[in-house]
């Protein structure tokens, strides 16, 4: 943790994206999390992903709940819209925002406490309703802000910093997301940005609920021997099913791999998900297969990562509800509030 703001001095050859922004333009305030927190790496990955995608920061809305994870939207995209909701209520506030203005890119940042405990109902309904958003859970298995009690995602049998063994069954948010109908589901690790950044990019350009569970070690309370969410444990038990390269429609694909080792998935906007298979039998379009694989590997103590499921034909909430395309703030008062006569006519039609 540092109190100083990052100096603005830049190298002369700092890369700029097509909007003319540098990576630094996608940063936010200086983080006040503990030094070495995995969450800061996730923030850095979000910065890189938005920079690479030439996203205009003012066209992004980032929402979060309460917790260490939910502080992080302050640390990236300083020029975007932001909203800190009450604990666990990010999904419903985000749903409301998305309904009001579908033109923004929505990013929900949450943690294992915020999404798997107090907000699990909210999480479940955002997934099943098909809200068009990128839902990132920064998952460290402990309640960091209250000094390290086990959270609902802590593995059974894992040990706290003081040696207490967790006897409760963990909630696997990835399994839940799959079951509840999320159309882009991934798991990654804060200590592996090469895997994480493309997954975030794919999610930001996905239509429908995209869920990424990012294991993010808590250096202060959950990075010891006996923890299953420490840097060392995750590195040793990381079982990636594939490696994603995200390719924008404007970019050329110039990688070559042995036939059968590569899977090419085109999203609705023309962006391409190039999946290099690490597990040759894994099929990311098979929801049930994904759920089975997850359970099998979890039983062996392994952490399955990668793009686990994607359905590019999925529809989102707006389509389901047949909402108006224009953002509400562009419709004008007369249209939004047609007056008492219109209301009477509507009521009459329903009698």
């Amino acid at each position: 943790m540092t109190y100083l703001a990052k100096p603005k001095l830049l190298r002369a050859d700092a890369p700029r994206n097509t909007l003319g922004y540098t990576r630094r333009d996608y940063e936010g305030a200086i983080s006040t999390l503990c030094a070495g927190c995995g969450h800061d790496s996730i923030s850095a990955a979000v910065v890189q992903a938005c920079f690479d995608l030439d996203i205009e920061p003012h066209r992004v809305a980032k929402l979060s709940g309460i917790g260490c994870s939910s502080k992080t939207p302050d640390y990236f995209l300083g020029a975007s819209h932001g909203f800190n909701t009450t604990h666990g209520r990010m999904p419903s506030v985000l749903t409301g925002a998305a309904l009001a203005n579908r033109d923004l890119t929505y990013m929900g940042i949450s943690g294992d406490g915020d999404s798997a405990s107090i907000g699990i109902g909210q999480f479940a309904h955002a997934m099943r309703r098909g809200v068009n958003m990128t839902y990132i859970v920064e998952n460290n298995g402990v309640y960091g802000l209250t000094k390290g009690q086990f959270s609902a995602t802590a593995d059974k049998g894992s040990k706290s910093k003081r040696g207490v063994v967790n006897n409760d069954t963990p909630i696997d948010l990835v399994a839940l997301a799959l079951q509840l109908g999320a159309s882009y589901v991934a798991r990654s690790f804060s200590g592996d940005k090469e895997q994480l950044i493309p997954l975030i990019k794919g999610a930001l350009r996905h239509r429908g609920p995209a869920f990424i569970d990012v294991i993010s070690p808590c250096v202060t309370f959950n990075n010891h021997a006996g923890s299953t969410k420490s840097y060392d444990y995750v590195r040793e038990h990381n079982d990636a099913v594939n490696r994603l390269d995200f390719i924008l429609p404007r970019d050329q694909i110039n990688t070559s791999y042995a036939p059968g080792s590569l899977r090419r998935i085109v999203q609705h906007d023309g962006s391409v998900l190039l999946l290099r298979k690490l597990d040759k039998d894994y099929d990311p379009s098979d929801r049930v297969g994904a759920m089975n694989h997850l359970q099998e590997r979890h039983a062996l103590g392994e952490i399955v990562t990668g793009l686990l499921y994607v359905d590019t034909s999925a529809e989102d909430l707006h389509r389901h509800l047949n909402t108006v395309e224009k953002p509400l703030n562009q419709l004008g008062d007369a249209y939004l509030c047609p007056g008492s006569k219109a209301l009477e006519a509507l009521n009459a039609s329903l009698r």
Binding site: L9, R11, D13, C37, D40
Partner: protein, 619 residues
């Protein structure tokens, strides 16, 4: 793309990397003094290796006398150099690579000289009891005086000979007083003379043989490059009364023999002497003064700031014009004829000036100052005493020891390796003093004492360092000057006022503290990426090792400047290595503040060159 850390046991990864086929960059040896010294670019670039960031921090803290003493120890003439140094440090300054302009290192040096207290009691004293060795120094310029200082405090009896009436050499005779007032020279030369150095002013040494055969244990030659090159073109002889050699004219101005110049003056040449000539001419009554140079503006030898100052004083600089003839009317100079040229470069990058074919240009003038270069001259050194000269008329020297082919004769300053600058003269003076001391003690000149080096953590608390690690975003401060109308009337009136304490502090804060080094410990690193994420200039990368060229290209920010080192760690737990590009590190310490395990630490690297009398390391 590598797939490290993915589903493979750590041990297997490590083995894979170590036994890989590709050549790997070896872990950086930060124990070698040169490694971190090179990171302190300003100190590395300074011929005398002045610990620049250290004295700049002291200035920011208001400890001017301490800052002065650090300078005095390294470069002997802080007040003089703070006004007229060639500043090799500033183009090297890291700040210049991340900001518009480097730190005003030179003018900060002047600050510590201006604002210091009386430092007399801090100066070393010569021992009462001498060691019985007598050293003759020929010339009382910066090189000789440095030798005198370094050896006098060891008990040597030093005698300095100079043809002038006071010490300083060309610092006094060549540099106009409006840039370097006499009292500054008097003070700093005085510190040395007061060490009990015997002076023989107004004494022209006419024979080296006499000294060599005389009762001297060693002779140091610091006679500078006293001869100005002439422009040997038609009309030179006829109009001789109106054509002067720049350095001779400057000396006459310095000593008050010349107090006037004609209204229309042309200065030939593009070096710093030409700049001094034209600016002096402006002050002695020259109204239409111009500088005419063979080369292009950018290739001129003069320092950019000296050119700027000349232009500021209303002096045009005209380029790509080669003087062809001094035009005169029965010996009365009327102008100079120039041929227009353009530059062409051959495959080896050598320049030749090709006439453009355009008509020649006649520029009218009444007086010409020729400042087209300086040469060495040793008319007083006999050719048969065993001292060899090379085909360019320069003494044959050992470049490191500065010893000539006559073992007891040493050279330094412009007299040694050709005209350079004051700071080089001081550096060579130190080197020669070490050699003379070793020589007089009968030791090998090659067994030279190593520099004193220290590396110590600056951590004071969780986010506290002993230095101000917040990087200033202020722009370079301009030194305030006196009004031009006033200074153009009085050639002795110093133009620059120097920084006041507030400006000095603001400018000092711009220093990036490049001597506070980032030191990385492999065994405590948990590879959490915190340092990578926080680094403002993206100079840290964790990746698989490889050949240097490949590695440089794979960094988060590719390291394109090849003469800037990569700091490469030993193999980490995941089989990767930490690679840091030293080039644009701001030394802000954020990596160390963010590191949860203290694998990064900020440690101050302090290097002070050896002085004469320091013992060499026993091997």
């Amino acid at each position: 793309m590598h797939q490290l850390g993915v589903g493979v046991p750590l041990t297997a990864l490590a083995q894979h990397t170590v036994s890989g086929d590709r050549a790997h960059v070896k872990p950086t040896n930060i124990g070698a003094p040169d490694y971190f010294h090179k990171v302190v670019d300003c100190q590395w670039a300074c011929p005398a290796h002045t610990p620049v960031p250290e004295y700049i921090r002291l200035i920011a803290a208001g400890h001017y006398s301490d800052a002065y003493m650090i300078n005095w120890r390294s470069n002997v003439f802080p007040g003089i150099l703070g006004r007229v140094c060639d500043r090799p440090c500033e183009p090297a300054c890291r700040r210049g690579r991340v900001d518009k302009e480097p730190v005003a290192i030179c003018r900060l040096k002047r600050v510590c000289a201006d604002l210091k207290d009386d430092i007399q009691d801090r100066l070393p004293r010569a021992p009462e009891k001498k060691n019985g060795k007598r050293i003759a120094c020929v010339g009382a310029g910066p090189a000789s005086l440095t030798v005198a200082r370094d050896l006098a405090v060891l008990g040597y009896q030093i005698t300095v000979f100079d043809s002038g009436a006071s010490p300083g050499g060309m610092m006094r005779s060549q540099i106009p007083k409006f840039r370097l007032p006499d009292d500054v020279i008097d003070e700093e030369c005085g510190y040395i003379i007061n060490l009990g150095v015997e002076t023989r002013y107004n004494h022209w040494v006419g024979s080296l043989r006499e000294l060599v055969e005389g009762d001297w244990d060693a002779v140091f030659v610091g006679t500078g490059a006293p001869r100005g090159r002439d422009a040997d073109i038609p009309g030179r002889k006829e109009a001789a009364a109106h054509i002067q050699i720049g350095i001779d004219w400057l000396a006459n101005v310095a000593f008050g023999h010349t107090t006037k110049i004609a209204k229309r003056v042309i200065v030939l040449g593009g070096g710093n002497t030409a700049m001094d000539c034209c600016r002096s001419a402006r002050r002695l009554g020259g109204e239409d003064v111009k500088v005419v140079v063979r080369s292009g503006f950018e290739e001129m030898k003069a320092s950019p700031w000296e050119k700027e100052e000349a232009i500021h004083e209303g002096i045009p600089i005209l380029n790509m014009l080669v003087p062809k003839e001094f035009v005169h009317d029965n010996g009365r100079l009327t102008g100079v004829l120039f041929e227009k040229v353009r530059a062409e470069y051959d495959a080896k990058g050598r320049r030749s000036l090709i006439p453009t074919g355009e008509p020649d240009v006649l520029m009218e003038c009444d007086e010409v100052l020729v400042a087209i270069g300086q040469e060495n001259a040793f008319p007083w050194i006999e050719k048969d005493i065993g001292l060899e000269f090379d085909k360019w008329g320069m003494p044959v020297l050992n470049q490191e020891t500065l010893q000539s082919t006559l073992p007891k004769v040493f050279f330094g300053g412009d007299a040694a390796l050709g005209p350079k600058n004051i700071i080089t003269a001081a550096a060579q003076g130190h080197a020669a003093a070490i050699s003379i001391d070793l020589f007089c003690r009968g030791k090998s000149l090659q067994q030279r004492p190593p520099p004193m080096v220290n590396l110590a953590s600056q951590k004071m608390g969780i986010h506290e360092w002993s230095y101000d690690n917040q990087v200033s975003e202020e722009e370079r401060k301009k030194v305030p000057v006196k009004a031009l109308e006033k200074t153009l009337k009085d050639i002795k009136l110093e133009l620059e006022l120097g920084f006041d304490p507030f400006m000095a502090c603001a400018e000092a804060e711009r220093c990036l503290n490049c001597d506070i080094e980032t030191v990385f410990t492999v065994k405590t690193c948990i590879e959490c990426d915190a340092c990578v994420d926080i680094c403002p200039t993206e100079c840290i990368t964790f990746t698989s090792n490889g050949e240097e060229e490949d590695l440089r290209g794979r960094l988060k920010a590719p390291a394109k400047i090849l003469d800037q080192a990569l700091y490469v760690s030993d193999v980490l737990k995941t089989g990767r290595v930490m690679v840091k590009d030293e080039n644009i590190c701001l030394h802000c310490g954020m990596c160390a503040e963010r590191c949860p395990t203290g694998a990064w630490d900020m440690q101050k690297f302090f290097l002070q060159c050896a002085e004469a009398g320091t013992e060499a390391r026993r091997t």
